[in-house]
Symmetry: C2
Subunit: 161 residues, 2 copies
DNA sequence: GCGGGTTTGTTACAGTGTATCACCGCCAGA
DNA sequence: TCTGGCGGTGATACACTGTAACAAACCCGC
């Protein structure tokens, strides 16, 4: 359930994502406009979480400025469609690695040294959380679980500098 | 493990918190200054999460303005001491309901209708998360788990309007 | 072509957080 | 006692994040 199965599958995920997004939008009768495409591509180009203003800047060219507000709108759309996630602890965005079951719990693993964000899930955690919420009499609508730490690659790198 | 055991114990928690905080600072050889006291009190006065600017405004009086930057510094201090939590999904702060074991996982239950934030924990969830991270080769330093939804009191209230 | 929805551009602004420097109070050490 | 350092605070400025409001462009069916 990780993004890095083939190792460095990340970068080559991008074209895949675009195709997937286009198919999904057609299927749902929604518009996959050039702006939305560009924003998704920008997000998908890195496995680091990127701020909306970073994306705006990256998409801007001399003579063709993309305003942050446009990026936000595109991001809102992409999040609604489940193509992009927001990392609340960073105010930043990452591509969604794979289609989730709607409402499925996702766990974000944020590396504090390389900044990469991996995405995983666990029926175990989810079940435990469900029971805990039940016990507390709390009806959830949305939950976020973000873990900061050191990813395997970075720990490796530190051991052999 | 809830804040609302006695029901409405919240408000009367505040003086308790201040005493606890003062003792804790003395114990650690740190200064529990008037500003820090005021900020903690302001946070503890409500079980809703409050923004730093709200707190600054509340502490300000005609002739005696408290700048947000001062509030942020006090909040940083209080968070380091484990007296206050930050709710990432809201950019807001709540008092810590009880001393946690350092590093113990905390779950925030955020009611979308009344805005109250309850705090709980679960060995179940924590164990599951630990195993998941282990499997992913990820070494955690800090994790946040925030759930938005409807608290029991609000669901009750809706049923009998 | 017309009317109505959606998307985008533009401007302005609100909210959140940090950098920097100056000042104050306290305390250890010469 | 003086002095130098250190932590805390005040104040200003600024960077970053996000939203409101309105106009223009676009698309699509009628």
């Amino acid at each position: 359930m990780h993004r890095h199965e083939g190792h460095d599958a990340c970068r080559s995920d991008a074209p895949d994502m675009l195709a997937r997004a286009e198919a999904l939008c057609r299927e749902r009768g929604l518009q996959f406009t050039p702006l939305r495409r560009d924003v998704l591509e920008a997000v998908a180009e890195s496995d680091k979480a990127q701020g909306a203003y970073d994306i705006a800047e990256r998409l801007s060219a001399p003579g063709k400025r993309v305003a942050p507000v446009s990026v936000y709108r595109a991001l809102d759309f992409l999040m609604e469609q489940g193509l992009v996630h927001r990392i609340a602890s960073r105010n930043a965005f990452i591509p969604c690695a794979h289609g989730h079951a709607p409402g499925e719990g996702v766990i974000f693993l944020i590396c504090r040294s390389c900044g990469a964000v991996d995405e995983t899930s666990s029926a175990d955690v989810e079940g435990g959380l469900e029971r805990t919420l039940e016990r507390a009499g709390f009806t959830p609508t949305h939950s976020i679980l973000e873990v900061e730490g050191d990813c395997g690659a970075c720990r490796e790198r530190e051991r052999t500098p």
